[in-house]
């Protein structure tokens, strides 16, 4: 059974290494500050006993005050999964560091989030629209988008 780590376990395992950057958000996911995202993801991927090498998905949700980018990783060896989120509070130019260096599967999923929500990923090699065409006006999946 893939044991999904609860928020308390994630926080207890990571907060020693990244003080102040991880906090709980709900029952099964942790909130990570966007500056420490690449370092935390690398630690989760390579550390002994953690080895979260498989990226399930990256998606984003628009709560009117902030955007929340959700990541889920799975460890195939130890059969565990972890979910964590990053928030960006700016509406005009939200941006989050990219994980393409660690997981190549993040490439297209981050482009999709950029295309439909407008969140830029710093460090992405090829950030352009993937489903809609160049020159499309607006980001359709935002809550305040009207056609």
């Amino acid at each position: 059974m893939t044991a999904a780590l609860s928020a308390k376990e994630i926080v207890s395992q990571l907060s020693a290494r990244f003080p102040g950057a991880i906090e709980e958000a709900g029952l099964d996911s942790a909130l990570v500050k966007s500056e420490s995202l690449p370092a935390a993801a690398e630690y989760l991927k390579t550390a002994e006993g953690l080895k979260y090498e498989y990226l399930n998905y990256i998606t984003a949700v628009d709560y009117y005050d902030y955007f929340e980018v959700v990541y889920m990783l799975t460890s195939l060896e130890y059969n565990r999964s972890v979910t964590f989120k990053v928030r960006c509070y700016s509406r005009d130019n939200p941006s989050v560091p990219s994980l393409t260096g660690l997981y190549q599967g993040a490439d297209w999923q981050e482009r999709e989030v950029y295309d439909l929500m407008g969140i830029t990923f710093e460090g992405h090699p090829n950030l352009k629209r993937i489903f809609l065409w160049e020159g499309y006006n607006g980001y359709p999946l935002r809550k305040d988008w009207n056609r």
């Binding site: 998905y57 949700v61 599967g105 065409w133």
Partner: protein, 373 residues
């Protein structure tokens, strides 16, 4: 003494556009292929030609009203989309599903897996050059499965059969005897089919060693399903993260080592046999009882979020649903198998020729409805 100079042709790579509508691209998929002669150097996939905005449309419909929309994502295997969505909403709302409904869901999901692999193997052999013969042989079996599903819910291709809390209608009396009659027929057919293709020299020459995907690359890209199992990753959600009643059945997970097109073909053939085993066991164990929990037509799950995934025929298919206690989902994201599996295509085709590119693309088994959503 004359010195011989090697005469080399001065070549430069050129870009070829394999346009959105192409007989072998399994839907509207476009690639810009950089070629050096006939050898592929790089590809740039472009899609979005079937982007219907399903994630946005789901925010405007009730939870039950979203079920027909989910059918149309992976239209080659519609039951598994329904299954995954219903699991996610039931997890969100804490709704329990009766036993009979669980067994019915498992039977339909496994029959759907067999039907999908019939299409996948047939299409891959079509791309390899066997124009039509294996494809229509397998399509005959797929039509028989269509008949079974038509008995259940009246539709051949896009079923809208599962509901939140169970299934929409009970099994008619003639369904289980028909399934019992179908299983030995299909077993015999798969043996006959394998006899033609397992040691076929043309298939082996074209598919063995072609388009190798290594285990590390597959993990890094997040590949799942038969493609990952052919590369050596022993990961199947029915065994590693069991959902519904899959932990009550005995079946194996076929895995192979090399990760080439031939291995993907073999994994799919073996999976069809294992699915038949599951159908056989579940048909014997179907209990009586209600086929759906009584929930409202318009349900309001409590505020929160949930992610549920199943092992669909193509890989891990998941739904991430956020609810704010209203009648429609606040946000629903579809973790689509085909989009993520397609990410690895670029690494798999470098150095192969154009004809191999088509075969490798066919062996991943993509449905554009799922890629573009």
């Amino acid at each position: 003494m004359t010195t011989t100079q090697e005469l080399t042709l001065k070549t430069e790579p050129f870009v070829l556009n394999m346009g959105p509508l192409h007989p072998s691209t399994h839907g509207v998929y476009r690639m810009r292929v950089t070629l050096d002669g006939e050898v592929v150097l790089d590809i740039e996939p472009i899609f979005g030609y079937l982007h219907r905005g399903i994630e946005k449309l789901m925010e405007e419909r009730t939870y039950t009203g979203c079920i027909p929309l989910t059918d149309r994502l992976d239209y080659a295997s519609a039951m598994s989309n329904n299954f995954s969505y219903c699991l996610a909403v039931e997890k969100l709302g804490g709704i329990k599903v009766p036993e009979r409904a669980e067994y019915i869901r498992v039977i339909t999901a496994e029959l759907q897996r067999i039907a999908n692999h019939c299409l996948a193997i047939g299409a891959m052999l079509n791309d390899a050059g066997a124009l039509g013969t294996p494809f229509f042989y397998l399509w005959r079996q797929r039509e028989k499965i269509y008949d079974l599903f038509e008995m259940l819910c009246g539709q051949r291709v896009l079923y809208n059969y599962m509901r939140i809390g169970g299934v929409s209608q009970d099994l008619p009396d003639e369904f289980l005897p028909a399934v019992k009659k179908f299983i030995p027929q299909l077993r015999h057919f798969i043996d006959e089919y394998e006899f033609f293709l397992k040691q076929n020299e043309i298939l082996i020459a074209r598919a063995k060693g072609v388009g190798i995907l290594s285990k590390e690359l597959a993990t890094n890209y997040g590949i799942s399903g038969p493609v990952a199992r052919a590369s050596g990753i022993r990961w199947d959600l029915r065994k590693n993260d069991p959902y519904s009643v899959y932990d009550r059945f005995e079946f194996d997970i076929p895995t192979r080592e090399n990760g080439d097109c031939y291995d993907r073909y073999r994994v799919r053939m073996e999976e069809m046999k294992q699915s038949l085993r599951i159908v056989e066991q579940s048909v014997k164990q179907v209990p009586g009882g209600p086929f759906r929990t009584e929930v409202n037509q318009v349900i309001r799950p409590p505020a929160g979020e949930a992610y549920a995934h199943i092992e669909g025929p193509k890989g891990e298919l998941g739904y991430y649903i956020v609810s704010d206690n209203s009648i429609a989902p606040y946000r629903s994201h579809i973790r689509s198998t085909s989009l993520i599996n397609l990410g690895a295509l670029r690494q798999m085709v470098k150095g192969w020729k154009v004809a191999d590119l088509i075969l490798i693309f066919g062996s991943i088994d993509i449905t554009m409805g799922e890629v573009d959503r």
